[in-house]
Amino acid sequence: MTHSLETILEALQATFPALSLDTRAMLTDETVISVPGDVLTEVVGELIESFDFYHLTTITGLDTGEGLVLLYHFWNIHGLTLYVALPYTEARVPTLTELIPGVAMYEREIHEMLGVDFTGLETSAPFLLPDDWDDTLPLRKQAVESEDEV
């Protein structure tokens, strides 16, 4: 049973009345909801339980130059992206592996590439980077810029 996006957004706003879940459109057929990191787990739980929005395509991590952003791309006929803004230092969100076991690889990659901590995620072993990699976080802006200078 697919619910319309409007229904979902209304219901989410009703369940989390204290927060303003800003929404905007993104190309193509994607709706973006801003979610603070401390209610991320509850919002995702609600999406899965009440609306069958269980399919998380991936998590994009990026460095905007002013901070880090995590984009959780969900899909159920329409695309729904949760936008979580994080500061450079103390960039931390809880892991979603209890709710969605499939999320582990996406979180490990972001931890490795951008240095975001996912509380509860096992990250001792390197994932994609080679064993002899130093501590630089490859997708942080400083890393890319310093490459250009060399």
């Binding site: 980077l129 080679p130 064993d131 002899d132 990699w133 490859p138 490459e147």
Partner: protein
Amino acid sequence: MVNWARRKSLWVLHYNSGGCNGCDIEILDLLTPRYDVERLGILKEASPRHADVLLCTGPVTRQSRDRMRRIYAQIPAPKWVVVIGSCGSSGGVFQGAPSVMGGVDQLLPVDMYVPGCPARPEAIIDAMAQLMEAIA
């Protein structure tokens, strides 16, 4: 005499050190009915100990480096290294990537380069034929 026997049955070990798979499927294509390199005596082997030629594809990623060295050391002499594709020759489109070392010659002595992205099966067969001439 030994050289004649050797070049008539070059057994290859294929190792992908970080490539996109394009050259690998063209190498596998060589074993199939259209190209059929077995008629030239070439067999694809599973173990480095059974091989004469190391067919390398892909740029050498830093993670692959130690393993490649070990595989090369495990191949008994005389051995040859044939690099298939642009990535193995020079790093290809991945030049400059921090997790990539570059072409195979950054790590191993290369006997033959087969450029292409991916290298065509005909080019690979030509390279093996030239290698056989060189061994004689």
